[in-house]
Subunit: 783 residues, 2 copies
Amino acid sequence: MNQSFHILNGKDFKSIGKAMLQGWFGLEKENVRVNAKGEMARTSHPWVFGNKNTHPYFTTDFSESQLEMITPPQESISEACDFLKVLNDLFYENVEGEYLWPQSMPPVLPSSDEIPIAQYGEEGRDKEAYRNYLGRVYGRPMQMISGMHFNFSLSESLLRRLFAAQSGMASLEEFKEQLYLRIVRNFLRDRWFLLLNSGASSSAHESFEGCCLKESCAADNGVYSCPEALSMRSSPFGYTNREHMVMDYSSFQAYDASVQRLIEEDFVSLEKEIYLPIRLKFVEKDGKRIFSHLEVRILDLNPFSSAGVSKDMLYFTHLFLLYGMMKEEYESFGPEQQLQASENQYQASVKGMNPALELTDSSGKKQAAGSLAEALLKDMEKKVSFLFEDNLCYREAFEKSKEQALNPEKRAAYRVRQEILAKGYVEFHMEQARKARQLSLEQAFRFHGKEDMELSTQLLMKEAVLRGIRIDIMDREENFLRLLRGKREEYVVQATKTSLDTYSGVLKMENKIVTKDILEQAGISVPAGESYSDAGSAKADFPLHEGKAVVIKPKSTNFGLGITILKENCDRDVYERAVEIAFQHDRSILVEEFVEGKEHRIFVVGDQVVGILRRVPANVQGDGRRTIRELVEEKNQDPLRGKGYRTPLERISLGEAEQIFLSGQGFCFETVPEKGKVVYLRENSNISTGGDSIDCTDDVSQSYKDLAVKAARAMGVKITGLDMIIKDIRQQAAPGNYSVIEMNFNPAIHIHCYPYVGKNRRLNASILDALGFPAAKMKEQQT
Amino acid sequence: MNQSFHILNGKDFKSIGKAMLQGWFGLEKENVRVNAKGEMARTSHPWVFGNKNTHPYFTTDFSESQLEMITPPQESISEACDFLKVLNDLFYENVEGEYLWPQSMPPVLPSSDEIPIAQYGEEGRDKEAYRNYLGRVYGRPMQMISGMHFNFSLSESLLRRLFAAQSGMASLEEFKEQLYLRIVRNFLRDRWFLLLNSGASSSAHESFEGCCLKESCAADNGVYSCPEALSMRSSPFGYTNREHMVMDYSSFQAYDASVQRLIEEDFVSLEKEIYLPIRLKFVEKDGKRIFSHLEVRILDLNPFSSAGVSKDMLYFTHLFLLYGMMKEEYESFGPEQQLQASENQYQASVKGMNPALELTDSSGKKQAAGSLAEALLKDMEKKVSFLFEDNLCYREAFEKSKEQALNPEKRAAYRVRQEILAKGYVEFHMEQARKARQLSLEQAFRFHGKEDMELSTQLLMKEAVLRGIRIDIMDREENFLRLLRGKREEYVVQATKTSLDTYSGVLKMENKIVTKDILEQAGISVPAGESYSDAGSAKADFPLHEGKAVVIKPKSTNFGLGITILKENCDRDVYERAVEIAFQHDRSILVEEFVEGKEHRIFVVGDQVVGILRRVPANVQGDGRRTIRELVEEKNQDPLRGKGYRTPLERISLGEAEQIFLSGQGFCFETVPEKGKVVYLRENSNISTGGDSIDCTDDVSQSYKDLAVKAARAMGVKITGLDMIIKDIRQQAAPGNYSVIEMNFNPAIHIHCYPYVGKNRRLNASILDALGFPAAKMKEQQT
């Protein structure tokens, strides 16, 4: 065998340490769309996902009813899996009345000729023709078998480190080629093992026409269910070529040659028709075929995981690939060995649950599958366990997979079959689909795996994914994104810092004095007041402000820091102290009249008001029965409420501040408020202390919206969160009944999307519209 | 008399305190342009000042050769005077071979019909016609007499305070009217006194044709010089109407009526032909005539002050106006009193230096001018001295004026006459003009009165003034400007934060990781390296960086803080310490290869490189004679070098750091370097530690300029200061011989305008061009 097998030994890999886990990870998942009865949906690909020829995340597989979701490469398995969850979430948020069938084997299918081939329009005539050909050759029902593909490549820096740790090869390119080929060969040799854990398709609905499993098991209660099988999908009766495909895995060039031979000899029509359990993937670059990544195709959909696959399964698969890289090769991998490996796969897929199953070992001898599995696990653990030290999730995934491999009743295939037997094929899978849908809708405000980023950014990214926009996270801590679609490229920071606003526009908003000047000149009411750049002058002007209601605040800070409100400015000492506090936060301060009314956040994008919110201090409404403590506990159950700004609303605390505020009203936590009475637990209305956000976009008089847009125009800004005090939102705006307090250049969008009361104003959509990334448009319904 | 005279008494004014000095102050100055011989220039109004019909700062008065400079209203006298200095500076910086004649009486004039009337083109036909009329009525030479106008109004908040301190009047408007009218009446009564200090035109050149002073004094040595006179300009032979103008000063309406009467009765053709020593100025607003400000017109040009007037004279004039507000009125101010007041003015202007001069007092009695002056000073001091407490400049101005008033030989008129007698009329004034020119050119890098603002902003404002752009300082501490011309409005912060750049563009530049990503993708060389967001990973990667030349730096800071350069990264402890230091300045850091070469700052505006600088550490060049200390002292004489960033270059220190660095080379401050040898006093090249800025815009290969523009385009930014390491600026750019280190979003412009070596690259002009405020264009020379 090739010398490269021996240039890296166990010690070399260990020297790389945890960097061995660095890589790029992607997932592709197919699901047949179904109606609530578990019947294949006959609707077109959802229009909301736009053009299936170009959308990077949502397209169709063989059938118009077979949704394919694709994650971009991610830096961790966890993120890839989470990205897939986001795609699931987007399906359920945007498609009414349909479900994703969570099983590789199809749902209730119509007759073969009623299975619709995916329609690609003018630009996708080839794709349709290819699918028609597939339908003819393999039968449409077989093409409805769905699965999970796991894309994987090593990180460039890991490759460089590995290359540096060896000395046998002079070229990084050649080294890389041999490394990946070794992974592929070892993967193919041992792939039967993966089925023990990933196999989850031992049953099929009776409508799965032409199912060859009829031969091995009879339909019972509308389902073909094989007690010994792990994966019908990976069996000879599943999603496989009709012939055995022999390839040359000694070099990329030799591999290509074998692909060409299969096509020339009419075994297949295209490379992608070669249904191997792992594929070498290449991209064209400057006319050359460059290796891109490996595609693992053997994983069944797992109905128990809302994402279709568990993270544990993916961690284990990753370890399995790395094991393939580290494992010595003592034999070649020619046609005979390849046939034997396929045979092992078929045996395991059809009879993997049979404890007496025998497989062929590397020396060609029959051995009990159980002892082969034990030996493999032992060798694998020896080689990969150095990676467990700082990576508990990999250790746990390994332990779990080991347990499942060695205990058949813990395997997914077994558990799925038990559920089907208990609940029925359709009902069990639909129950899982309904659970997945419920989970998606409850978590709609998050972008799974990016929870460390701001909620506003998470929501913007979700909408970007829906619209088929590629997202590059340029700087994660700073919520710095690049959005790309077609020729359009935009950079967005913290969801609202964009190219729509000019730098000077932002600096105008940041400076309260400048903002006031400009608004005043534009004829918009702002609080009357004076600015001061030294405490002495501010203090000396006490007589000017005496007896009035005033706000004393720093010139440029946000978040309300350093602001004092004096409802009646009578005590010189108090006034002077407030001046000092404000000066602790800025070099200049404002002393302004205090304007009576309620503060509203008016969100403007371009020339439009896209949302208006009012914030209300933490509160509960009595029912005449429960205590304040119980009412708070109930209110805190809302999934929108969490801790630490990871949710659109925060839980109400029952702390000292709340206790004091209640006792001021003669209440305590055990008070039972009368029915309908609203009890406030705080004075301040911040969302961060349990306040409620009340959407009132539709309730505010148009005149205030016009003023907000006028203000944005006067300032020359496109995105702004304008804070306006309004005496009565139903009254027509007039000088004296409103006042603009400030204009924020980085306003949060999530509070308008998931308010406590009111509907989702979809500000993430508004911002993408403004940035020139329009949403998909509904077309004439296709059938 | 009107009751309003008594509604405010001394105590009321004192209660206002130093706020009494709040107001708006503006200056208008006329100068005849002359050639080096002191002859009236026969050139057109300088084209660089654009359209004289619309330029807010530079226009012409009567004659094409008579430049008029106008300051906008300023918040202090000091700033108004300084703004005027800026206008002078701009004249000398932009007009070659001409001077501003620093005397109210004209320079060497040609014959009357050769004095060119100002040309205003099609749009200014009326103005030319009016000037032709003036030339006919008063003679062109008389119209060449030039002066200084001082515009003044009380601040709105002072007016409100004064209004609040009285109770006699219910309407603020009426109160304001009576207050200003009292100032005017008292000013007119006492105006003769101002001539004692401001009079500076007791002589005229013999070419001043038709000079009526011929009657009172004969020409001697080419000059009419009247020993007793203070101001020919304010005399009956000067810039005055031929008839006495009687007005009604009891109300604005009455005043307007008297203006109309004078026009109807053909005494004058327009209101502005009424040459009163103080004018009430109004503006039209919504069809109404609204009072705007007072215009004091009695001040002569002072040849000793480069701005044409001393600040002391202006402070005193301000006090004099406030005195007019505070002074009780016991008599009315009818036609007889007005005639008497004019007579006193004429007497003082022609005979003010005669110790025996008598004037008419308020009761109509003749009194010695000296004792009237003493009485006035005593009363004035009593009334205004409460303002001196925190305002030393007002106290000093008062004391100085008092001394001049009481000691004739200290007056400007006397001193000017002495100089003329000693040096000749033309030579003395030209000497002053040359001094003013010299001063202007030396200080070209500053905007007088705005020295607290950044040099870059000062330079931008100067260019804006030259181009006739109105400047509103929105926030002085932040160098926040609004620029206005015609319909164009732009906001600029710190000279380079503008609307040209988008917010996301700026955020890209601010983030070094993002910048590198984008440049790399665009095929531009950047230092290879890794970014880290935790110190642990950065430290663990020591082997990756070991033995190489590396730079360890925080991700987002400017100013070089937290950056360590390790020319050979061999010591793990040193490396780890450098990582820690970088993390003290940011949450993420970069470890990059150190690129050999010299760092160049390439300034890009739009698609153009507008300046390239190299910085060199503080150094001196030996002459084989002087010590390092002496060479430093000489180098520090350069007016471009100062302390504390108020000048384009900083002085070289002779401190400990320099001493240590020299001793490393075996030198001390007393070493005498050989001729031509360059001795460096610091390792770092910062301008702030005495480094030199070397302009090399014309020396750098076009290929690097193309790269800089390409980088700006890739980043989508318009204004950037790109730092590029270049091995050899004459070599063609190629990967490996350059590297882009960072792109600054707020680069200084002054260092490119006033480099140590090289020419002014006028980046202030480039930025205004880019902002859509083009400069005036040279027209076909007019004659």
